[in-house]
Amino acid sequence: MTGDRIIQVEDLNKSFGKLHVLKGITTNIHKGEVVAIIGPSGCGKSTFLRCLNLLEEPTGGRIYFNGKDISHIKEVAKIRQHIGMVFQQFNLFPHKTVLENITYAPIKIKKIDKNEAKEKGLVLLAKVGLQEKADVYPSRLSGGQKQRVAIARSLAMEPEVILFDEPTSALDPEMVKEVLDVMKSLISTGITMAIVTHEMNFAREVSDRIFFLDGGKLAEDATPENFFSQPQCDRAKQFLEKML
């Protein structure tokens, strides 16, 4: 199911001032692959993910998207159209309705006809099970519903990859499942995803690969079977003992 490399990362480094967060990460993500990124708090998972869509500018190394070096590219906005992102805190636009949240970027950026965008938006809302919420404002939604809208909003741009940064960490426990279910249904469509998560069972169940980050390094890059049954480094063993 996996094909060409969609994202290549070469010796990626990121520092915030004196704080050296990412210390030379080299890896790649293939088309159609689902990568779960795990690791202890503060190890640089978010920073790594945010470098992939250039929300953080790398301080060293290279990132290629579809073979093109995007590390210091000028037209970042263009690249980001193809790389969706879903945030822990949802970040829906509070002054726009649910449907407007979804159609905003397609209309303004892709210049898609308004009615067409609305129709597509409603289809997406149906996919995440929320078509009846099209005209309400985000403040009226539960956390799980907000995150499903955020996923639909990201899908509306028809990205080639979607990055998830702890999409269920801000949710009440009873809402985690509805979001994970939506993500599972997405995975079955074959879209490429990179997911930072603390949901170990989910990671094990849906991912093709596990990235274990530790201290800003890619300490392990393994299949979930291998990683969970026989982690190679001690840090991963300790981490798994704590998490499982």
Binding site: L55, I79, Q81, F87, Q89, N91, F93, K108, I109
Partner: protein
């Protein structure tokens, strides 16, 4: 003490005719001042040093100089330099807009910085370019938070426009002064002018409260 409002009663319509002039100055200055204020606030948060310094120096100068001096500079000083004569309306609107922009830019800057940075990141990750997401996503949220401060600024502007009476523009204050000069009365027409300004300000305040309520309906 001899107050005699009956003598100015008939002149009230004449003073009222100053309202459109006052409102014209106010409205134009609010709009231009706001737009310029947005640009200045973007300069202040741009992270581009020269733009930031320019905007800060701008604000500092307008804060430090009396408004009537600025107005005189524009109305009397610029013609001396350039030979171009501004009308009172042009000079007034230019001065008040420039001045208002200095204050409003600070307010807008603070309002923009107060918007959750996740909003910016969400828009960026959708591929929305800077100016577009500033206008569509960040500013509307910032404005909602700073609306009371902006209304205050508009109220100040409305009262400041009375300065154009010194240029002969026939606003509320000037109309009252004309009535006073004709009837050799000062207290009564000025009181009437004061009441008119007060009613305008109160109306603006009520309007703003209603607007705020309407904007908060979706919270």
């Amino acid at each position: 003490m001899n107050l005699d409002f009956s003598r100015v009663w008939g002149s009230i319509p004449f003073i009222l005719q100053g309202i459109p002039t006052t409102l014209q100055y106010t409205l134009l200055s609010v709009v231009f001042g706001f737009l310029l204020g947005v640009i200045l606030s973007l300069c202040k948060i741009s992270g581009i040093k020269p733009l930031d310094y320019f905007a800060q120096a701008y604000t500092s100068i307008f804060r430090g100089v009396p408004l009537i001096l600025m107005l005189s500079l524009v109305y009397f000083g610029i013609p001396q330099l350039t030979g171009y004569n501004f009308s009172a309306l042009e000079a007034g609107v230019i001065t008040f807009s420039l001045n208002s922009a200095a204050y409003v830019s600070e307010t807008i800057r603070a309002g923009i910085l107060a918007v959750d940075r996740g909003q910016r990141e969400a828009a960026m990750s959708l591929g929305v370019p800077y100016l577009l997401y500033m206008w569509d996503i960040i500013l509307p949220q910032a404005l909602k938070n700073i609306l009371p401060a902006l209304v205050n600024e508009s109220i100040n502007l409305l009262k400041d426009t009375a300065l154009v009476s010194t240029l002969g523009a026939q606003d509320i204050l000037r109309s009252a002064q004309i009535v006073g000069a004709e009837k050799y009365l000062y207290f009564e027409p000025l009181i009437i002018a004061g009441v008119i300004y007060y009613v305008l300000v109160i109306t603006l305040t009520f309007g703003a409260t209603a607007l705020e309520k309407w904007m908060r309906r979706i919270d």
